[in-house]
Symmetry: D2
Subunit: 366 residues, 4 copies
């Protein structure tokens, strides 16, 4: 296991700390022949980059990716793809203080308990910079999915309690506001609300929704490697996620079977569902409908407001976290959600290729 490895068929290993030499990922199991350039990956990294508005950390991180292997003449070769992003703005001095105590809501304490000590500079491995490897690998997964006609789109559904309205839902809006919110009016409300919280030295959370379209029915392995089970793990592996739900999610607890079941019907000669309470997955396998899930994101734990904690000498102390922190993580986490979804879907798509002997035979004769 060992923690930093994800996927079985399209397998990635991420590495790197906030203030070490860099962060990166190796992808083992990418098929040969996928057109891939640094620009394809940079595009996604730029979407998660901080410093793009007043609502994310003002840190400028110039995350430039370099492909070190696995590409020849503009295409993947089938061998491991190594991607590295050098850390540039390392100001370790900023972090000398937090070496001595445990920040509430962070992994400082648990890292020390597990490993005996920790790289405290900027959160080390538990820094948000760790997600760069995910986004970079996810960009490759995305290229594969595109080639198969599958799309993945995530957006902020709710921030600080302010939700988008289904009536005003417009994906085009996402790029026009700093929140990745598909609703201009909600985004405006968030902007006002957030400004206030930020000034008070506080932080806010939210809900990200993700829609995966055009996955053929049957992807996902019954029992333990269900598509939804693997998505749940993928999402909960993102630092700030505290909840995950598929389709109607927690609302099913109050629903009746007669309402919650999605009726099948024939449409243009194909089996479709009249509704999609299930969120596009039945028995752990894609059912051909849109796959819809949501992840709850906690407020950033790094806040300026005064907090109680303990230091390594065992004293109760008061702290106020300084530094340039995101007052909300939702807008940037949207990109990470998409990346993790892409990695999960590609892995199970590949897994699904050996489901039937007749198709294997046909394939073997190709």
């Amino acid at each position: 296991m060992a923690g930093s490895t994800f996927g079985n068929r399209f397998k990635i290993m991420t590495w790197g700390e906030s203030h070490g030499a860099g962060v990166g990922v190796v992808v083992d199991g990418c098929p040969a022949g996928v057109p891939l350039s640094e620009a394809d990956i940079q595009k996604q990294l730029n979407r998660r980059k901080p410093g793009q508005s007043q609502f994310t950390t003002p840190r400028k991180e110039d995350d430039e990716v370099e492909i070190l292997s696995g590409i020849f003449e503009g295409k993947t070769t089938g061998t491991p793809i190594s991607l590295v992003v050098r850390n540039k703005t390392q100001r370790s001095a900023d972090y000398s203080e937090i070496a001595s105590y445990y920040r509430p809501g962070h992994a400082d304490y648990t890292f020390d308990m597990k490993y005996g000590f920790r790289d405290y500079r900027g959160g080390g491995r538990s820094s948000g910079r760790e997600t760069i490897g995910r986004v970079a690998a996810g960009a490759i997964a995305m290229k594969i999915l595109e080639q198969l006609g599958i799309s993945i789109t995530a957006y902020a559904k709710e921030i600080g309690g302010i939700a988008i309205s289904p009536e005003r839902f417009n994906l085009q809006e996402c790029a026009k506001n700093p929140f990745n919110m598909p609703d201009a009016q909600a985004a405006q409300a968030v902007a006002e609300d957030a400004k206030e919280k930020i000034e008070a030295g506080d932080s806010i959370g939210g809900i990200i929704e993700c829609v995966i379209q055009n996955v053929k029915p049957g992807v996902g392995e019954p029992v333990f490697d269900k598509l939804d089970a693997n998505l749940a793990k993928a999402m909960f592996s993102i630092g700030a996620v505290k909840g995950f739900e598929l389709g109607d999610g927690f609302a099913v607890a109050k629903a009746l079977g007669s309402d919650n079941n999605d009726a099948f019907k024939m449409q243009n000669g194909k089996v479709v569902k009249e509704t999609n309470h299930a969120g596009g997955i039945l028995g752990g396998m894609s059912d051909g409908s849109d796959i819809v899930f949501r992840a709850a994101i906690k407020p950033t734990p790094s806040i300026r407001a005064t907090q109680q904690t303990v230091n390594k000498s065992g004293d109760n102390i008061e702290v106020s976290i300084k530094g340039r922190h995101d007052p909300m993580i939702v807008p940037r986490a949207v990109v990470v959600v998409e990346a993790m979804a892409a990695l999960t879907v590609v892995d199970l798509l590949f897994e699904n290729m050996t489901a039937r002997i007749d198709k294997i035979e046909e394939f073997y004769k190709m």
Copy 2:
């Protein structure tokens, strides 16, 4: 991957269909020396057994486990433990009809899409009987956890919209009502409500909560194999689960960082948290507090009420599911939730044993 395998260090492979010869599991990676008898496993199987009240299926399943390997003189030997439960009440005739159409809310359609055909008798592999293997393996994991002082307790927190009250919370009550509910009054309300729904040919869902106690800090692997990520996968691998949340869960989306962060303080010379919004896990590792999570369970899809669906010939038809089905799955799923939690925790506990070279050295010299 291949779907029916779970865990890396304490690894299980489950097998079996509702109406085949039986169901079972093999456990590979159980340490030697654990006292284990069929009674230990039977005890847990009996808790999930149907036919124990009017609120679960009236089918009598006499699920008797047999240990086929891995035990010698009352103790595990370190070799694989094979457990089998023979199917007894196989009335395949009942199921001949559902072979021809896709039941809404079930995996019939996706199974056909994935594999080209399906064992339609009683749901085949997607039957609730599949969980017998999980519960049997979980019983062994539970024995190991007990030996380390760790306990896992799940219960129904809400059924059909009726929730337990924190004031009346009493674990002793769980065994006294047919709902595994730690609140006698809520259980009574559920009984009345459920009777009505059942009579109407409908079904209801609910929420299961689970508490894991006495896990030392540091269990769980940062990044992808976070304790919460693996719990999320484990829970979402249970057929009826549509939502999972840890600690405050979805409520964090509306919380402020200053409220959501749990302050650390010293207590009797130990670091503890004042609150537990985080649900006992920080950065993917146990923090020493109770681990608290919830899973949302959908209403049983098999309902007597009339539903729209399609048959294999591509006709729109109307169906009413006959047979002896659970009008609610929550009470029995409580046992499965505990089992999956136990399997997850044991696996990551074992994984954690190689976190530090100093401890490895000490161990190697033992």
Copy 3:
């Protein structure tokens, strides 16, 4: 890892001890639609069955396989296939003595060191009966390979120093002598030689050769999961194997590059090799030629002749192993070699299906 699991895509978990309730295997990842009956598996089990000649153990083991899951209407369903063979001739009394000491050449000592105690009856998990699970699972893998036109054939190349002659090589002979030897004359010589050794209470070893035909070029993963690397592991996982070589094997150590390289040439519009020193694998991938490898099998460690050893009280003692033991394991191991080869090839064949995006695309559109 946990030891009793093999394969990543076509994954098996074997279980069982010599004198427990039985032995068996679960196969997770078998594609749906493979015609499979108990007879298909029994056929292979019968080939490895003891008691078929005076040169193998006179123990009668009536190894009857039962399929417990994963088959419906004569075909695999894509879900786990559980196979069990009940142990019948359990005479544990025979083994009470060996509980107290460590048999030379056996795993008694290492089992005790690893696990603290052992199931000493008939060797427990390290008994040759453990291979029943392999052969049963291998029979399923073989069915898949047949469907793709791939064949696997192993035979005894040498027993007790007596080798087959290339001139007399005739596969039809294998079934006509008790040694699985494709040379009647060599078999006759072995019979005479072996009789002598058996009478002296001793045992003999040999060499098994295996040929895999019609594997398309490109199967096997470069670097660590090379086809030959996985075959090496598969063969060395068989208890008695002490050496493994591919193609010219150890002879390459004395060869010149100009002799050892196989020249390519065009034949009927296809690329072929003039010679096959490489044994059908280049850079870890099948090259389209026959895959040819050999495994060296040690003499059975259970011998009647007097041996020095120690008992559990730490005394030096003399022992003579009684009981009905194989004086040579080679003839029966031939079947196990084929099974493990089949499991390895199927696994890497499946793995190879995601090597190229153009083929994945074509497949996805099927």
Copy 4:
């Protein structure tokens, strides 16, 4: 699987091509607290470096390793360790010719068959430079083993048919000749013989022996993950290996059980073996004796001598491989053998930590 990943508990992913930006490895699962510097790794890389004598390629490769993550204040942190070696002497022009045909004995043909095309520059991923990642990761594994008192030593036992003499065996000699041969006289003979073969434009192979000392009894998992099975895979994953044997190896085929069994006896209150025909492993687990194995290495396929082959247009052609190639790979492969052995032993050592519940309990209370 995906090919470039090795190990389950101490897991590595290697990457890189001969003429890409560089080669490297990520190690996931290294315990925290291991003192580690670039010098520790460089030391091993320098041992495998080419250009150190007239008997290896005259290419000067200045393989300088950089640690990108996982180290803080001179110790491993428990998080992934990323190591990179930049390629410096990339003269792709040299290789334009070999793009058009398949070199005999190389992986050119199989790469093309598997992936549809290949990075032909310097062999791409199948270049010997791929082993840099193994040696770098092995250096870390070695540090862990040292801390536990375990040593691993490999050397050339035979080159081009000239073997070392047991009487003159002296490990100190290895560093004094360019062949890693523990016998000065044999090394001298090899030097003379090799010079002749090299001048003739040919290449030679040999046998590497490896001894692992001080592994406690019980390491290795019965059945499939036997210590010898995993070593066999590890060795056969090295490009040029065509044979692997443990202890007496292929000689067991001609031995009698009475000779081949190693008698146990008591010595200073400990159980020891009188002889070591088994090579230190019984039933797949270390038995406390030295673990001794050998790997057969083929002559380097790149030779100046004229060879027959085909080009990509399907013509039969004659070729003579130019460029600076190793006339023998044995001396440098010795370092790779040690690295792969170290990776295998560490992985199974960690695996072994959960063999007994009593030790797990003790450990959990530490």
